[in-house]
């Protein structure tokens, strides 16, 4: 993302991963999984597919690592692979099953009451997020799930910062309407 320290770390990790360092590659996966998942979830509409898309995207990214010309911008490069992978996955699913893609898969069986509650909440959130247009899904998930700044979202998605702010505003408003204020928490954090 925009943080020079993180960008520098990414560049070093990419260089080591290019030489075959499993540790470096794992660190890249850990650093960027949530952002990749946010975009994959935005595109596919459900958690299981998003995980598959993420796995495939990281492996593709490794195969093409030598094509990453700006390793300090690895995240934006990775997200393009995730987006393309997600769209291909949607198309594949549409052709194979003709399923309505905005529907979420049924949640996996839960191990405990806490897991069941979390799964139910996740299902409701996924359903609400699926109601948003694609770009709003991507913006709100990157911003509110992974804490990205508008500058980085704009660069990764190829939109202006102003548009990113607008999309976030509209996405939040719609999510509040869909979920009800009771489900929507507000954070106090240092900006």
């Amino acid at each position: 993302m925009g943080d020079p320290k993180i960008a520098g770390e990414d560049a070093a990790l990419v260089e080591r991963a290019r030489r075959g360092s499993a540790c470096a590659f794992e660190a890249l996966v850990r650093h960027h999984y949530r952002a990749a998942y946010a975009v994959a979830l935005a595109v596919t509409g459900n958690a299981m597919d998003a995980e598959d898309v993420c796995q495939d995207a990281f492996l593709r990214a490794l195969d093409r690592l030598d094509d990453c010309r700006q390793p300090d911008r690895f995240a934006a490069w990775l997200l393009r692979i995730v987006r393309n992978g997600g769209h291909n996955f949607r198309e594949y699913r549409r052709l194979r099953a003709g399923d309505p893609l905005e529907m979420s898969d049924p949640p996996a069986p839960a191990d405990s009451a806490r897991d069941a509650a979390r799964a139910e909440l996740r299902g409701r959130l996924e359903a609400a997020v699926a109601e948003l247009p694609l770009v709003q899904r991507e913006v709100v998930l990157l911003h509110d799930l992974d804490g990205w700044k508008h500058q980085d979202i704009a660069e990764a998605l190829g939109i202006s910062e102003g548009r990113s702010r607008q999309h976030l505003f509209h996405a939040r408003r719609k999510l509040r309407a869909l979920l009800g204020e009771g489900m929507v928490k507000e954070y106090l954090h240092e900006g």
Partner: protein, 117 residues
């Protein structure tokens, strides 16, 4: 600063450490072969192996060019018996008169001038 972000933590795939570890491990398993190949390419022997095909192609090209040059040189060797005078296109009989210092007769001279080198 007050932020009105929406709590999407329930969607966070890293929130369940065991599950996240399984996801990361799965990607690691999928990446193992490619990473091993990259490590192999990063060594000196790996570099040589990686360059083996282009090096073989370059060696073959060099061999063909060298063979062609040697062949053309051998053809030129057949002209070694000739002197400089023949090499510049003077007929052979004229050249031998020049070397020996003999004076040809007018008939011989006429025939020699009709001769091709």
């Amino acid at each position: 600063m007050r932020d009105d972000r929406i709590d999407l933590r329930a969607l966070d795939p890293t929130l369940d450490p065991e599950r996240f570890q399984r996801l990361v491990a799965g990607i690691g398993r999928g990446a193992a072969a490619e990473l091993a190949a990259r490590r192999a390419r990063a060594t000196v022997i790996g570099q040589i192996t990686a360059w083996r095909r282009p090096m073989l192609a370059a060696a073959a090209t060099l061999l063909i060019v060298s063979g062609a040059v040697l062949w053309s040189t051998r053809e030129d060797d057949s002209r070694e018996g000739m002197g400089v005078v023949e090499a510049v296109g003077v007929p052979t009989s004229l050249a031998s008169w020049v070397r020996s210092g003999d004076m040809p007769g007018p008939g011989q001279l006429l025939l020699a001038l009709q001769e091709t080198p």
